[in-house]
Amino acid sequence: MSGFRLRGHAAPLVPFTWQGRAMLGAQGDTLAAALLANGVRTVGRSFKHHRPRGIMAAGEEEAGALVTLGEGARTTPNLKPSVVELEAGLVARAQNCWPSLRFDLGAVNDRLSPLFAAGFYYKTFMGPFADTRIWMACERLIRRAAGMGAASPLPDPDLYDRVHGHCDVLVAGSGPAGLAAAREAADAGLDVVVAEADFALGGDRLSDRDPQELAAALAELDALPNVRLMARTMVFGLYDHGVAGLVERLPAGAPWRERLHVMHARKVVAATGALQRGFVFGDNDRPGVMSAAAARTYVRRFGVAPAREVVVAGAEDSAYAASIALAQAGLDVIHLDAREAAPPALAERARAAGVDLRPGWVPVRTQGHALGGELRGLSVGRHLGDGRARAETRLPAEILAVSGGWSPSIHLTTQARQKPAWSAELGCFLPGEGEVLSCGAAAGVWSREGAETSGRAAGRLAAIALKATRRRPLKDADPGGDEAPPAALWEVRPAGRAFHGAGKAYVDPLHDVTADDVRLARQEGFEAPEHMKRYTTLGMAPDQGKAGGVIGLAVLAVARGEGTGSLAPTTFRPPYAPVSMGIFAGPDRGPGWAPVRRTPFHAQAEAAGAVFVDAGLWKRAWFFPRPGEDLTAASMREAAMVRATVGVADVSTLGKVEVQGRDAAAFLDRIFANPMANLPVGRARYGLLLREDGIVLDDGTVWRLAGDRFLVTCTTAHAATTAEHLARWRFRWPELDATVDETTEAWCGLALAGPRSRAVLEALTGADVSDAALPHLGVREIEATGAPARVARLSFSGERAYEVMVRPEAAAALWQAALAAAGAEGGGPYGLEALDILRVEKGHVTGREIDGRVTPGDLGMPGMASRAKDYVGRALMEREGLLDPARPVLIGLRPVEPGAKVAGGALLHPLGAETGRGIGHVSSVADSPALGMRIALGFAAGGPARWDGKLLMAKDPISGRDVKMRAGPPCFLDPWGERLHG
């Protein structure tokens, strides 16, 4: 009635759970083998029609049913039981059935299936139903009725490894051809990796009667130091230039669940074998219908008989290998060969093994049990040619093992852009020629001896290509190797008039796509394979059309009146089979998914009580709260402190680039919008850099340390882009003698800002830092706390201020001394938030204003764009659109109501015209202690010239808050800059 374990296959027992029932399998089983051995036939319900489905294959071409493994956060849906390795404690469930597998209410869909023909989605809900809520309501039901498994919404608790590997030759597949290729390449002294997706090595040899030969071959290869045999490792993709993606499944208990190998191979050999394909006929999807090769594998490799009574229906020679293997295992086998003339030698061997051979017959339609629908028998008829047959008699069967032919697994070579070619003789696509070598069944070589010959030839070719041997190429094996040619059978259709329905012939069982669906697609105009695929969804299920794809092409070709070979298969893209998302994330996930950058003052700031904020990848000190203070209270206190006495801030993250050489000054003069060549030694200057399209790239400062030595600083966010900008232009002017080196991290720095800042600086150094020696914008190289330092008198806050840079190893000492001195003056540390308040009060721009859209004129600095020299960006800055007087220009904004809090990003509108995008936006806001209100910087069309003193409405469409603001110049404090000298 169902499957059972054959005697003589003893292996340790492995407990597992199926549908809540405890079962036992054998070590070395796949889940499918274990289910068959336990007499399970129905394994799931199909996607649309909810028909019962069983095990159809013994590999990745499984199209019968998908299962869900695991529980809780480790639930993994849509797995093929034929590739799942049986491990102790495995928990598996059927999918897409409710309330139970046997009694699935969704089965009503099978009756309604004509409504769910290909493309139904595009045809229903048109006309009166379009744009109605009826569609939405039905959508929810449809979604629940059709389905695959359900994924867990919980985060994946497992870890995934990623490692880079290098080898000379990567062999995909450990079958006879693959091992032969590996041996040949290894003998030439090359580094060889053999990747086998299965958990057991050997490929087709695993289904041999005698396993000894395989064990010996593997042991010999494993002993070689330059060969790595990797089981459970699938080559899922070939990428450009010899890069292969491999995913390795790790054993339970390993720290990672899976490992991604980014393998750089100098040569790839595809020994990926071939996948059996069947032919379709009425109701060919019942539990009990499987491929003949799978039946043979279950018997030979796993010692599992799928049933006692088996009918083998073949259209080519390899079906005999299956029927003979089944008969030798003691099963009752009837073999239907679609060809009138059975191959004599094979026919004799079959009969000698006890097979009831019936040449010239084909299955027409299956019958199933009333309850459950599993295979009970089939109607058969004489093959009248071209797939036509008339049902003449019935045969009982529990298993119907079908073999139509083989499809070489050409996915990898096709990914490598080697176009496959159709072989009418063999009825399959053969891999294209190119850098990736194919051998064995993957090259259409069917016989065992041929596979080994072919593998050796490929291994030799690889060695020759890599110049590891001077020997000559070996003779290759020809594709084919059958005794008699296959009948090109793709579909069995009833001849003449059928008295009852012909049943549904499933081409892609996982997506419930029938042969009629393919013909319907063509009828509706979707006659290119790519269109037919997407219209019917054939080949888009987790099996990716491995078994049914070529049948679909053949049915389409017949419908178009053409030969199969005239149609190109749809493009294969990685992955070859489904892979976990986790392997692509690898270690880059969770809270540490991005690297964290810390300044040399980090530990000191932390000890001083800093709260940090993420600024890009950097952790920056945000504020230093005293007990009871929140962000606003602390930052306002810190800002007030800087204006009253002195504050110390970490400015280490600023980008720094050293430019040196005889032409360094000329180089910088061409880069900056304002003049730099005339900058005196020992002075600093604020500068604007433009992109070549005239837009401001960044602002920064330039310090002249010597005639031929400059330090360029720029904003934190643009450290890398400014360095790249300088390097790019340095490349374009090779006539200049100048070098550009990024030194952002080689120097760290503190800003000392406030009326008492000079006193703090004096406490750090013995050098003369009086106003005479170090005037505003002066630069000196001195010693600070005993270490070499660079000091510039520059101000971001508008107060008297100094930037002190030292080497990172001197950071701790500098911080201690600076904080002590500041404390003595009544000051202390301040963070990023206070820094921002201070600069907004003064109208100094940052990345919120320099947002990649503004010109110097937009920033209120038209004068920075020199008219007296040429520089990067000058030509395109004079485009009409960038000179338009209606462009938004920087303005300052105060609330009309002192307590109102405008939000950054709010849109600015003239009063009374408050719809649409407005005439500008708010770019920065600050709760100003100096002014006692929340002030803002922004952009408004026409700028202060147009809006000074006038009212604007700042509308925040997200929070719905509107704040009336009065516009003015973008500087709220000390407009003449007197405090710089305070």
Binding site: P255, V596, R598, T743, E745, A746
Partner: protein
């Protein structure tokens, strides 16, 4: 169990660049080094340090000893050491950890002791050197703590 990934400050690393390099300049450098100049991808030992060619017109010296760049008084020099941290990969797991940090070919023939390469790790420019005791990874200083912690974690998993 000895640690596999150990963080420490980077020794002095000085870079010297010339706008053009001809045979005479190379001869002077070899003389100052007291040894033949290494080819790209290899570091030569000098007194108190290692010398390698970082780019066609740019050489680097790593170590406390005096750099041989006095042979090139006209060169543009810059101190890169202070901006870097060193992560020492030691022990039997060192190569496995390195193979997870960089995409370089780390096989014996491709990266023997004395080899040096600048490459990328998590978006940052890093330099890998192989010595007799193991592998040294020079990384931007701001990322040293983060990178060392991650590599130590990976080493722990490989071990466990």
């Amino acid at each position: 169990m000895a640690e596999t990934a150990i963080l420490s400050p980077c020794p002095p690393l000085r870079q010297a660049s010339l706008p053009a390099i001809g045979a005479p300049a190379l001869r002077r450098l070899a003389e100052a080094l007291g040894a033949p100049l290494p080819p790209p991808g290899r570091a030569a030992a000098g007194e108190g340090g290692l010398l390698w060619r970082a780019a066609p017109r740019s050489w680097r010296w790593l170590g406390e000893g005096a750099a041989p760049f006095h042979a090139w008084p006209e060169a543009a020099t810059v101190e890169l050491g202070p901006g870097l941290s060193r992560i020492a990969l030691r022990g039997p797991l060192a190569r496995e950890v390195a193979a997870r940090a960089v995409a370089l070919d780390l096989r014996e023939a491709a990266f023997p002791p004395g080899a040096v390469a600048t490459t990328v790790h998590r978006g940052a420019t890093v330099t890998l050197l192989r010595g007799a005791e193991g592998w040294d990874l020079l990384v931007p200083r701001s990322l040293g703590e983060d990178f060392a912690a991650r590599l130590a974690e990976i080493a722990g998993r490989l071990e466990g």
